[in-house]
């Protein structure tokens, strides 16, 4: 029983670590800022998720008590990762992109960085 539990925990730990490693590798291999953003926003979620699932299973199966702090960590991660990614993207657009490089917005108004919001 203990061996099986440890095996399952190890699988999640190693799986999570592999994704974290791939995410870091993406930072090195990819070329520009926007491409690099894909690595930490995706690969890291599953990396951290795998490690946290391993942590929950460890406390549940080996120590015998239920820990739900990990669910909170996942929740906060899912809430904050898109927002920080959005901010990095926006700073990148302001600093390094020009309006000509982006596709024009098909609506009445242009992109928020270049165009004034409609008067309300």
């Amino acid at each position: 029983m203990t061996f099986l539990a440890e095996l399952i925990v190890s699988v999640f730990l190693i799986g999570g670590s592999v994704f974290a490693l791939v995410g870091s590798l993406g930072l090195v291999r990819l070329h520009d800022t926007m491409q690099r953003m894909h690595a930490p926003t995706k690969a890291t979620t599953l990396g951290v998720g795998g490690v946290l699932i391993a942590s929950m299973l460890y406390f549940l199966l080996v120590k015998g008590d239920f820990s739900f702090r990990e669910i909170l960590i996942v929740l906060f991660l899912l809430l904050t990762a898109p927002i920080s990614a959005n901010f990095i993207a926006k700073v990148h657009i302001i600093a390094d992109e020009t309006e000509d490089n982006l596709p024009p917005a098909s609506g009445e108004h242009g992109w928020a960085v270049y165009d004034e919001p409609p008067a309300s």
């Binding site: 993406g26 291999r29 990819l30 070329h31 926007m34 894909h38 599953l46 898109p82 108004h109």
Partner: protein
């Protein structure tokens, strides 16, 4: 009266559950303390949240969340494949302009967050009147297909969850 005391019942419930998670124990003492926070915090911050976000169907919301979690797993594998097996010179990244029909700010936020967490796409910016969303796609040959998939897979579901 009840509405004044609980301006945001869902927020209160979430705060209580988060409090249980933070202390990592469910006891009567923490129920009282967490319940106190769950009543006081939404009450104090109510002026900043004048309206209640309308949730049409909690059940649809739950299936949506499960679907997105599954998509996140697939997204991780897909992005890992691109990072590991596609030569950096061969990666074709695109900016994609997606017109959105959603109106409530909560729905647009959910859509932007979903796009960032799912297969090879990051939402970068909204247009000034929030009618378009600028998405960066890591590796695709067909930007139009990406746009159509996001619209059909996520936006239609969100439209049902958050009625305008």
């Amino acid at each position: 009266m009840l509405r004044r005391l609980f301006p945001h019942p869902m927020l209160s419930l979430t705060l209580l559950l988060i409090w249980f998670g933070l202390v990592n124990a469910v006891t009567v003492g923490h129920l009282l303390l967490g319940g106190f926070l769950a009543i006081v915090l939404p009450f104090i911050t109510a002026p900043y949240w004048p309206e209640r976000p309308k949730l049409q169907s909690p059940w649809k919301m739950a299936t949506y969340v499960l679907m997105v979690i599954w998509d996140i797993v697939l997204a991780n594998i897909e992005v890992a494949r691109v990072i590991l097996f596609v030569k950096p010179e061969d990666i074709r990244s695109h900016w994609v302009d997606i017109p959105i029909d959603l109106e409530s700010p909560e729905a647009i936020t959910m859509l932007a967050g979903t796009i960032t967490m799912t297969p090879g796409t990051i939402s970068a910016m909204l247009s000034a009147d929030a009618s378009n969303i600028l998405v960066h796609c890591l590796h695709t040959d067909d930007p139009d297909a990406v746009r159509d998939e996001i619209k059909s897979r996520y936006e239609t579901r969100l439209k049902e969850i958050f009625p305008c």
